[in-house]
Amino acid sequence: MSITYLEAIREAQAKLLRDDERVFIYGQDVGGTFGGAFKATKGLAKEFPGRVLNTPISEDAIVGTAIGAAIQGMRPIVEMQFADFSSLALNQILNNAGTHYWRTGVPVPITVRLPSGGTKGSGPFHSQSMESIYAHYPGLTVMTPATVEDAYTMLIEAVAIDDPVIYCEHKYLYYHLKADKLPGKGLPTGHARVAREGRDLTVVSYSAMVQESLAAAEELAREGFELEVVDLRTVKPLDTDTVLASVARTGRLLCVGESFPWGGATAEVIARVTNQGFHLLDAAPQRINAKDTPIPYHPNLWSAHRPNTKNIVAKARQLLRE
């Protein structure tokens, strides 16, 4: 038996609904017999009547409603149909959920699921990676699972956390990643994972870029280079210690993220390593992000726009020569 990243997300939600009566799922097309644009909630409305609810196309009100329910003790899971559309809920997420505990002392345990990142042909409005925007604002935990196992355990963990969690699930990984079985327990939230050990160069990445980085490491291994790949798992909090420990072993740092280049998760990693581990570095740290343009539709353009195995390999080679 094998289970995909997408099925893991569905199974995690089924378990949450089964185990905790405070949980309900709220979002566009999640209910009925449809089960979501990507089928992440397939069958759940039937299995859990009245707890998997379709909503109007009202991202602001969807999150606002979840916030109100959470303040009153529920554990809502919001599905944004695409991460891109969560821009319409930014106000509720950043200014309401993100400020509430700080202002009032009452935490807001909502989980917002963002189907994130690019797939071929999806274009400017169905491909975005929003993690850097959410991580920028106070009050939010930002998860970016890169494996089937993490997709499962981190979603369960997200709902257990008393504060708002932005759960960025990668659409490219939905069907491409498979595991044999679901794990019982994962690493604690906020701990990065060394996905592959190496001594020559540290590649820090998260979400789908972990898979691209691992493929790049495999390719460079054939040339005799050993890349260490660190999977951040959560962009916020950022596990600086694990990153620094890796850079201490390798002396070189390359950060790979799919969001736009200005600021963001990769810039934050480099800032922290430079700030706290300057003496560990044998070369200037580098990063690869998507290009600073909207995300293109055509596969030829899209594959050149996002970071991929090829340009990670090229950048790593360059960094290894320095």
Binding site: T55, T65, G68, P76, N91, Q92, T99, T104, V106
Partner: protein
């Protein structure tokens, strides 16, 4: 089936209607609200309040009716001109002075100021400045109660005609009707969104007509008439509690202050101030009390004095209390301490 909006036309100056049974109770909260807000204004002018002061002068009758018919278990989402309603719902007077004066012991502990305060655990939601946002939050709070199997509860969210034009408001109203939660939305048209008059805010004939489009039952109201406010808003709360569709009440008043105390409202033309809706609801209520001899002059004076004493005490209490300190503050924006991000750049 949707009901058509109940249109009463433009408010007219008329003889006081017979008082509602809770008229005097409501009047007393209005008096306390006016008293504390006037005091806050003088503290602000004396440079003793940091940030803004936003008052509900002229809107106390509508506001008090919003809080008065709610029970502890109900949800109240007041906005910036709802001091009277907050009192009627149960907000302690000292919350007001502690928040405005920045006491560490206030509900916001110096982290947020003035009218953004709330006590979510006591069902008084803490508004954010982005108008319309609290409507859907109220909907969610009501859904939680329904999920838990609670009965006999309502929510009431306040808005102005300015906030009614925000996208979040429309989304919130629509989702409230879709979810069929027991919600009352009270919209006070005070004729100005900061400095912008009605004719640049909306182009529909009457805001209450929107009720039909949202799937609400709609009622309009002369917001300067306390008895009418108590009748209409009290009735809406009763209907929502009884399981009727969500209720929209649109009240007409004039904001008898600036947007905040930094604003002299010089943009309000004199002829607007002579309109029937520009009456001061507190004075109108007081006249009713005198005309109908509901209180003798001595009692009225004693109530005034008591309000002033309570306010002075609440201010003295807050002024004695320690302010928050940057060096001692707990700088975590989340309750899960182990997940607080460690930047280490200080």
């Amino acid at each position: 089936m949707l009901q058509t909006a109940q249109r009463t036309g433009k408010p007219k100056t008329k003889k006081a209607t017979p008082p509602h049974e809770r008229f005097l109770e409501a009047f007393r909260w209005m008096l306390l609200a006016r008293t504390v807000e006037e005091k806050l204004v003088s503290l602000y002018r004396g440079g003793l309040i940091t940030g803004g002061v936003y008052i509900g002068k002229g809107q106390e009758a509508v506001s008090v009716a919003c809080g008065l018919f709610l029970q502890k278990n109900d949800i109240f989402a007041p906005l910036i001109r709802d001091q009277a309603g907050r009192f009627a719902f149960g907000e302690p007077l000292v919350d007001v002075t502690r928040t405005y004066l920045g006491s560490r012991l206030g509900p916001m502990r110096g982290r947020d100021g003035n009218i953004h305060r709330g006590r979510p655990r006591d069902n008084q939601l803490a508004m954010i400045s982005h108008l319309g946002a609290m409507v859907s939050v109220t909907v969610g709070a009501l859904m939680a109660k329904r999920f838990r199997g609670e009965k006999n509860f309502v929510g009431l969210a306040c808005i102005g005609e300015g906030g009614m034009q925000a996208g979040a408001f429309h989304e919130g109203m629509n989702i409230a009707a879709v979810e069929q939660v027991p919600l009352v939305v009270v919209a006070t048209n005070n004729h100005y969104a900061y400095s912008t008059p009605n004719d640049r805010e909306f182009a529909c004939d009457d805001l209450v007509d929107r009720a039909i489009g949202y799937g609400f039952e709609g009622y309009s109201l002369d917001g300067t008439d306390l008895s009418a406010c108590l009748d209409v808003i009290g009735g809406a709360v009763k209907r929502a509690r009884a399981g009727r569709p969500p209720q929209l009440v649109v009240a007409e008043v004039l904001r008898l202050s600036g947007h905040g105390e930094h604003d002299d409202a010089s943009y309000v033309p004199e002829e607007v101030k002579r309109q029937p809706f520009a009456r001061d609801c507190l004075k109108v209520a007081e006249q009713t009390i005198i005309d109908l001899n509901l209180l003798d002059a001595e009692t009225l004076a004693a109530w005034r004095k008591e309000a002033a004493t309570q306010v002075d005490e609440a201010i003295a209490t807050a002024q004695k209390e320690a302010a928050p300190e940057g060096g001692k503050e707990d700088w975590s924006a989340i309750s899960t301490r182990e997940l607080a991000d460690q930047i280490n750049d200080e």
